[in-house]
């Protein structure tokens, strides 16, 4: 659906994005991840025909963004970071206006507006002026304008920015519900958002793509070992001794697959600490699941096991690792590392 090849866009002499290549298949939700000023918005603006690329090519819905720009615009719904709203219009009038300039057939406009308004849950505010709406509602109106002509492709630039947690969840659900019918490219600098909504992620940094893969694969690839966390408590608090916890840690360390056991060191080991329980971070050498071994050891020694959960490397960590790696590489071998990264996928 979206094919981008060696896309470069310069602002003056300074490149905002350089040699960006990627593809998005039909029905996918792809997250475009990067810190601020990494080139996300620039790429999206090229894809939505806001401005032409300096070099390279991009095909959206089978049409070239430069040669068939009007055709591309017919098939794309674009929601910029700041939704392009007219504060003096009502939601209804605004959507009607957008529907008209986006070539929705006249007879279908009212029905489309009704559907969209329902879908993004702004029904009760249809007759209000946009200037009276809260930030969250404005954001949803922004989403509604991108959807009004039922585009094959949705390009959403930071769709959840500035929303409260409840609204963020709603918008994410909405975006997920749109997948399948629509191909979605969304950008964000909030990492959990990508793991929650997107099937694939493209990480961009300083105008270059540093990684592209499925979110799980990316996490696993960057993580050599399995890690999990345990919350345990000593059975009797009568005779407290540091030795007790040291004993159980020692026993856990004896399990052959376990590489290391770390005790949460944020609190001193004293009576009070013992009453809260201990948090252990356990790392195994192989990617085998050894959680049940550890659990068994804890139970057999009479300790209470409250919680056990895998502690995967978060996307934040993945991201930091990738972007810092890239920084080192760029300083040494700028072009080489770039093409390597892209082909290594």
């Amino acid at each position: 659906m979206i094919q981008v090849e060696n896309l470069t866009k310069n602002y003056g002499a300074k490149p905002a994005i350089q040699d960006v290549s990627f593809q998005v298949e039909k029905g996918e939700i792809v997250g475009f991840l990067g810190p601020n000023a990494a080139g996300k918005t620039t790429t999206m603006r090229v894809l939505s025909c806001f401005f032409p690329p300096s070099s390279g090519s991009a095909k959206v819905a089978g049409f070239d963004v430069f040669d068939d720009s009007k055709e591309v615009r017919r098939h794309v719904g674009y929601m910029p970071e700041n939704p392009p709203l007219y504060p003096d219009m009502t939601v209804d009038a605004y959507l009607r206006f957008v529907a008209q300039i986006r070539e929705v057939p006249f007879r279908q406009i009212s029905k489309r507006i009704r559907d969209i308004v329902e879908r993004v849950h702004i029904g009760e505010n249809r007759r209000l002026r946009i200037s009276k709406l809260s930030k969250g509602y404005k954001q949803r109106v922004g989403l509604a304008q991108a959807l009004i002509h039922n585009p094959q492709i949705l390009i959403l630039d930071e769709p959840t920015v500035g929303l409260d947690p409840k609204q963020i969840i709603e918008v994410r659900h909405l975006i997920k519900s749109l997948a399948g019918d629509h191909t979605i490219l969304l950008s964000t600098h909030i990492l959990p958002e990508v793991s929650m909504t997107c099937g694939r992620v493209i990480i961009i940094h300083n105008g270059h793509i540093v990684a592209k893969d499925s979110t799980e694969a990316l996490t696993v690839r960057l993580q050599g070992s399995e890690r999990f966390m345990m919350h345990i408590e000593e059975p009797s608090l009568g005779e407290y001794s540091v030795k007790n916890i040291e004993k159980i840690v020692g026993k856990l360390r004896k399990i052959p697959e376990i590489e290391s056991v770390e005790l949460d060191s944020s609190m001193p080991l004293d009576q009070e600490r013992a009453s809260v329980g201990h948090y252990l971070t356990i790392r195994s050498a192989e990617r085998e699941n050894i959680r049940h071994h550890a659990a068994k050891v804890v139970i057999e020694n009479g300790w209470r096991l409250y919680e056990i959960r895998p502690d995967r490397m978060s996307l934040e960590e993945v991201f930091l690792q990738l972007t810092t790696e890239e920084d080192i590489e760029t300083s040494e071998n700028f072009e080489g590392s770039e093409s390597e990264k892209e082909t290594s996928e």
């Binding site: 401005f51 674009y78 700041n82 392009p84 003096d88 008209q100 300039i101 006249f106 304008q145």
Partner: protein
Amino acid sequence: MKKIYAVWEREVNSYFTSPIAYVSISVFLILFGWFFYNSVIWYTQMSMQAMTSSPFLQGQLNIDRMVVRPIFSATSIIVLILTPAMTMRLFAEERRLGAFELIYTSPIDKLEWVLGKFAAAATLFFAFLALTVYVPFILLTYGEPDLWALLSSYLGVFLMGLAFISFGLFASSLTENQIIAAVITGGGLLFLWLLVLAGSVIEGAWGEVLLYISVIEHFNDFNNGIIDSRHLIYYATFIIFFLTATVKVLDSQSWR
């Protein structure tokens, strides 16, 4: 065409849901009425004097020359002052709101966008003039002005207003700051207007050229009841030139 209509509808609604339309129409009507009142008073005083003292003066009195023409000359000045208010917002505001991103990523041509906005401003200006019809009505009821001179004056003012609007639209496309757009519009139009002074002082071909460029020079004939194709062509060219320039400015945005 449908898209031009959509833009037009949006802009007209925007004029009339904000105070812009009401304030500018009120100011226009007050000033217009004031000029009308003064010229009628002056005309009646002259008539009284002529009746009592000088029969010679009586022959000189002419409602077209003493009432109709001054009113429309004054109107052209009011329009000059009010044009920035009508046009400064049109593109500058959109640029500030980020609405450029909506328009540029929609399948609408810049020309359609410009024409829609031009038509909207023209509609507001038409409302200005339409609300002054009580004046010719009073004149025709109580006097015998030349109907054709009245009509051609209206046509002249309307064409001149459209030319002003096209210039204002162009100025608004240059910046996201409405005040800058207003200053460029007001200053630019006044300059084009005042060329008539330079044109009448400078002799020879250059004087002629300056006179031809001056916006007001082409209005005078309309005011005298003459509809000359030269002036129609002048205003048409003026409007087309500035609308095209606006489209070019908007197109060039994508390349920055």
